[in-house]
Structures are given as C-alpha cells and as structure tokens.
Amino acid sequence: MEKYETHTHDVIVIGAGGAGLRAAIEASAQGASVGLVCKSLLGKAHTVMAEGGVAAALANVDEKDDWKTHFHDTMHGGKMLNNWRMAQLHAQEAPERVKELEHWGALFDRTKNGKIMQRAFGGHTWKRLAHVGDRTGLEMIRTLQDRGIHSGMDVYMECTITHLLKDGERISGAFGYWRESGRFILFKAKAVILATGGIGKAYKVTSNSWEYTGDGHALAYEAGAELIDMEFVQFHPTGMVWPPSVKGILVTEAVRGEGGILRNREGERFMEKYDPERMELSTRDIVARSIYTEVQEGRGSPHGGAFLDISHRGGEYVKKKLPSMYHQFMEFAEIDITKEPMEVFPTTHYVMGGVRVDADTTGSTVPGLFAAGEVAGGMHGANRLGGNSLSDLLVFGRRAGLGAAQYANEIRDNTLKIDDVDLEKATEEMLQPFENAEGENPYTVHQELQEIMGSYVGVFRTREKINEGIEELGVLKERASQLRIEGSRMFNPGWHLCKDLHSMLIVSEALAKCAYQREESRGAHSRVDFPDADNEKWGKVNSVISKDNGDMKIGTSPLSQMPEELKKIVDGGYK
C-alpha cells in the first residue's frame, strides 16, 4: 500500500467558497484546529462569480423592510417546501452577517447617506440586495479569503477529497489527492464540513464551472447521509445564447433588477401575460418557464432566446451598475448592451436539493458530518430567490463552523479510528482507470451524461421522458464503470473527470428519481403531465434519497410543523 501524507485536525472543511471560508473562520475562532481543502486555487470557487448581490433586510433603501418580510418572500419563493427554521434563521441573521463582512473590509456600494446600498431583485418585496456593481461575489470571497488567511487555519489548495472515512457511525476523516502530483492524502478529523457547492456540470448549458460535479452530495450519500429535494434544479432564466461557445454563461439578474425588459421577436413585453404584477422581477422559475414557452411557441429571438433590454437606462448608468455585463457582451458577443438588447435563454444554475441538515447546527444524519451552502438542502425549498444564496453561505457557513467545532470539542482526544481496509479500497478505486486498457473516454461519457440530463430531466419534464432518462443513465453508469485514461497521475484532468463522473452519476440518478416521483409542478420542477401544484399530497413532503444496501432508495418525509407566529407571517398581509 502506498504511504500517505497524513494531517490531523479537529475540523476539516471541504470547499473554500463562501460557505467553506465562513465555516473555517468560525471554527478557528472557536479554537478548533482547522484544515480547509479545495479543488481549485484559493479564491477561485464559484462564489467569486456571483454578481447581483447578497440579500439581507438591512432596510437601508426601503425602510419598511425587515426579517419577517424576507422570511415571507423566501417561503413563498420556495413554494413552502423550505425548512422553515432555516428560512427563519437566514432572514434574521443575514443583516448581521453582511455588516460583519463590512467590518472585515468589504466595500459595498453606498447610499447617499453613507450606508450599504441595496437593489431590487426577483421575488424580493423590497430593495434588499447589498452589492458591489455586478461583482458582489468577488468582494465577498476576497474579504473572507483575507480574513481566513489571518485566522490560523491550514489551507490545502488544489486538493480533492474523494472519500469520507468513518469509525463505526461517526466521521473520522477524509481521503483525497493533490491535483499537482496525484499523490494521496489522508486527513484525520473529528468533524467534516461539506461546502462543495452544486451539481451544474451534469448539464451542458450551465453557468457552472468544472468544479460543480456534486462531489459533496455524492460523498454525503455514500457516507450514509440523506439527500432531500434533488428534483429542484434552478434554471436561471437568463444565460447567454450566442455565440455557441459562451452558451450558458450567466447574465446576472441585476440586469432585470436595474430595470431590464424582456421582449419576444414580435416586440411584445411578454411577462405581462405570465406575471403582470411583478413582470421581469417575478421569481426565476416563472421567468425561465415564460422564456421557454415563448421560444417553444415560435416567438423566440434569432438564436432561440428572448430579448433582454437595458439600453433605455442610458450608457453611463449601465456601465456603472453593470460593468462586467457590459464587458462580457462586448468581448464575447460583440454586442453593446448600452445600445442593443441581449439574447437570453434559461441555463442550469443552482441546485436547491442537497444534504439534509439540522437548521441550527447544520449537522447531517451522520454524526460528525456537517453541510453548508449550495450542497445543503432545505433552505430554499422548490426555488431559490436571487441573492439568497450569498446570504445563505454567510449565515449557515458560520453556523456550520460553530456546530462542527462544538461537536469536535466534545470528543476530547482524537481516538477515532481509520480503517485500513477502507483506505485500500479508496486507493484501488482511484487507480482503476489507469489499469483499464480497454474502456471509455471519460470526456465522451461526460458529454453523453450532459445530453441525457438536458433532454430528459431539463426545464420541462414528463413521466415518459424521465423514465427514458433513468434507463439511459443506467446504461451510462455501466459504461462509466470502465473508464480509461492516459498519462500520469500528475495534474491529469482526464483522471479527475473519472472521479467527478462518479459523483455526477450519483447526483443525476437521485435527481431523476426525485423528478419521477414528484407528480406535480412546483417551483423549479415542471411536470407537463401534472401542470398544477398538488398541495394536498406533494405540498406536504420533501423527497428523500438514501443509500440502502448499495441501492438508491427514494421516499418522502413530512415537512415539520411551522410555529403559529411564523405561519402568521407567511399568510400575512404582504403583497
């Protein structure tokens, strides 16, 4: 057996996006020894790409805003499937977390009287998104990165976790490899926090990076944790459609937040038909379906999308408020958005489903395993409001750090065992693709997976389609058990893709099975054969995926009862 480099920490955080960094900072502040592991270089995680803003009821622009309205908006956006306790904590704590970022050096755009500026976004009653032009995520990750590197944690960059290790029921460590050398590495830990982000690379048209392969979802599933609501994948209404090589890249919702108007090829402002009250600032599920429908019915733009126009706001304003969008269209599509409309179409963006966690501690059903950020389920229900992810990362990142450190503290000395047999198995699994002389090219398998997911479990779904998709996934899984790669273990993207595919296949199967089971349309899940929401049956349950003797088990579990005072807020006299 190969000799492993071994590191011991109280808490291992997997993922260095907003959630992971915030968790690591908190766990360190609690006195835990923390190792922060990430697939890419520090500061390159998805969070860096977030544009529009972070939602928090600071009430700096609209004085009437408060946590109750934020809670109300979030529950309605999520079509009541949200874990109410998470939505409550999120709405209550987000303002504090945003101010804390400012105290750590973040420079948000300002109001006239010197406070943090806020902008409008879909589904939010008031102007609620604190922002920095259209590079809010960059500001957030830099601030956390700066804070993190001075907090005493050890950072393991370009290091990928492939297996979680357990001592009986408890988490006892994690196994992975350095991207640079391909050498294996072992972490002994009392607690592990998953902060690995989403799953978007299972789809072809996506706003997500190479890292979004659902590793955390798969790691949790294989360690015995439950995944919930995997059918809810958010298709962001506005991705770029042209030219082909940029298809899927995000056009931030801030364009609509700043007054952007959607039109079809006939020049009609079609949101008037679908949501006359909120128009372009309706929730993402509704806007995405509206654009999709317009194109399906033959009223699409030349490249099969809708027109999104912000030019009426004037060149100066657009360049100031949306500088990256201006450059993005200029450089990639040769379009001047201060003069012409953009062409947009839905793109895979965010997964609402994820690891089932306890709202207060972020603990999963496996002792010692915690999850926060996009990899955790429950917070956003059936559909996430824009801006609610960045605030989610801060609120639950902090809570994860706290929860994991407290849990680790209770285990005095780290006497948790790592099983040699598990390590051997992990090693063998990883090295397999080098030994298959005959076998499939992982890139080909990945492309086919993306085709399957796009065609059978895309924006609109039917029983027949999903069923076909599940069958095709089965065949592909078989093929993917024999992957072949070339070259050495050193910085080998093909090799990495083999493991990524393993994660993506688990996540895709879970997603398809949940989509098949839920016979209704709700939020981001649209079943053409069940166009209405079924509040009696499906409005009361989460979908649950778990591992059962090596097979994927699907079921449901009832939503927990919301306390009366929160019910009042949800039913309250808000618009």
């Binding site: 406070k115 190479w210 030219p243």
Partner: protein, 244 residues
C-alpha cells in the same frame, strides 16, 4: 468548417515540447475552448486551469502567441489563423505541467500584508466617492498576469525583494480604504519593495480588469513612502538626530 492549428506547450519541470493539434473553429470560440477540444479529443491529460470561463476568476492565464492573456477571453478570431496559434504557460512562475504553473509564491507573500485594521469605535459610514478608489483595486481577479509581465519579477527574479504589482494594489486598496488605520509605509518600502518599480507600466497594459495599476496605485504609494522617508526637511532632521 475551417480548422485552426494550435500549438500547445506540453511538458513539466524536466522539459517539454510544443505539440500541434487541429481544432475545428466554431463561431465566437475562445482559446480555452480549443484547449478543451484537445483534451476531449486528443490528449485527456492536457493540464490547464480554468473555472468561470467568463473572465471573472483569473484561473486561465497563459501566453497566447507570446502575449500574456486570459485564454477564456481571447477569441480565436482575434488571432491570425493563417499561422498556428501558440499557447504557452506564463513564464514568471515555475511550470508544473503543460499550461499550469506554480503560483504559490503569490499566496505566501500575500499572507505577509498587514490586514485591514479599522478603529474600534467606527460608525461604518462611508461615501461612494470615498470607496471608489479602493473599489477599483478590489476588481482584481488574481490572474497574476501583471506579476507575469513585470520585468523585476520576470527577468530579474527579485521575488525576495519585490512583491510585484498585484500585491502593491492589494496594499494600496488597504491604505486607501476610508476606515483603515494601519500604517503600511515602512512595510511597503522595506518588505514589499515599492522602490524597485520603475514605472514602465507593463503591468497596467496587461490587466484584464483595466485597473490603472501604475498610475492609481503604485505612483501614489511611492509618493506616500517618499513623503515619509525622503522629505528633505525630515531627512536633515533625522541626520541631526543621528549625529547627536
């Protein structure tokens, strides 16, 4: 469909060679797309870094036809395609494999920069015109292209004496933060080596975020340092002090 010839440097610290590939052109294609095509169809182990593919994360830096650039932002149709397109790793940092270099030095020096230090009783009121100066520098995506072209790092390899333009704007951003109270002047001179910069502006030219690195950050920093250390009156004064 027309085809481009793309020559990619393949190798590691023990040496390597240029490999030529044929890549079918697609409308709007960028150099990173060509690299991905090569990975999927010819060499699955071709090493490259990327994340956002939208010029936002700064991962994909390389030298395209000899020019430092983000490969996800460099359109194939902006290059002369009658000749092969060459793609090399950036030169200033040691190669790991193919297009991937070891940029860890940047992370090491960054840790040394004294962090944001507000006053205890701050009210947290700031005005847009005051935050804008620092906001310009906070646009930095850490692509390290400026570090790559700065001749002090590139040709003279004075990494022990000089932190390079990226880290200087990081310091400028903190120094110009309306609510920061830390004095980094001595640090700038002694450790970051601001004096080494001779204002050739090569860094500013390559910055994909169009940050005015030299004019807006380095020159003002140099002036601050000069005012403190080289103000003639102060200088004479300190001489006298030293003499007695």
């Amino acid at each position: 469909m027309s085809v481009a010839k793309v020559r990619v440097y393949r190798g590691d610290k023990n040496g390597g060679e240029e490999m030529e590939y044929e890549v079918p052109l697609e409308e709007g294609m960028v150099v990173l797309d060509a690299i991905h095509f090569i990975q999927a169809n010819y060499d699955g182990d071709l090493a490259v870094r990327w994340n956002c593919k939208a010029a936002k994360c700064g991962s994909c830096s390389a030298e395209v036809n000899g020019m430092p650039a983000l490969t996800c932002k460099t359109r194939m149709d902006s290059l002369p395609l009658d000749k092969p397109v060459t793609v090399y790793p950036v030169k200033t940092f040691p190669i790991i494999k193919d297009l991937v270099t070891d940029v860890s030095w940047n992370y090491e020096v960054r840790k040394k920069i004294p962090p944001f230090t507000p006053a205890k009783d701050t009210e947290w009121i700031m005005y847009q015109e005051d935050v804008e100066r620092s906001q310009e520098f906070r646009k930095c995506i850490e692509c390290f292209l400026c570090q790559n072209v700065c001749h002090i790092l590139r040709n003279h390899d004075e990494k022990n004496e000089f932190f390079g333009p990226r880290m200087l704007i990081k310091i400028a951003e903190l120094e110009m933060h309306p609510l920061d109270t830390e004095d980094r002047k001595e640090f700038l001179r002694e450790q970051a080596g601001v004096g080494y910069c001779n204002i050739t502006k090569c860094c500013t030219e390559v910055c994909p975020e169009h940050i005015h690195i030299t004019d807006n950050a380095i020159i003002p920093l140099k002036e601050r340092v000069a005012d403190t250390y080289f103000d003639p009156l102060l200088w004479i004064f300190s001489k006298f002090k030293a003499a007695d």
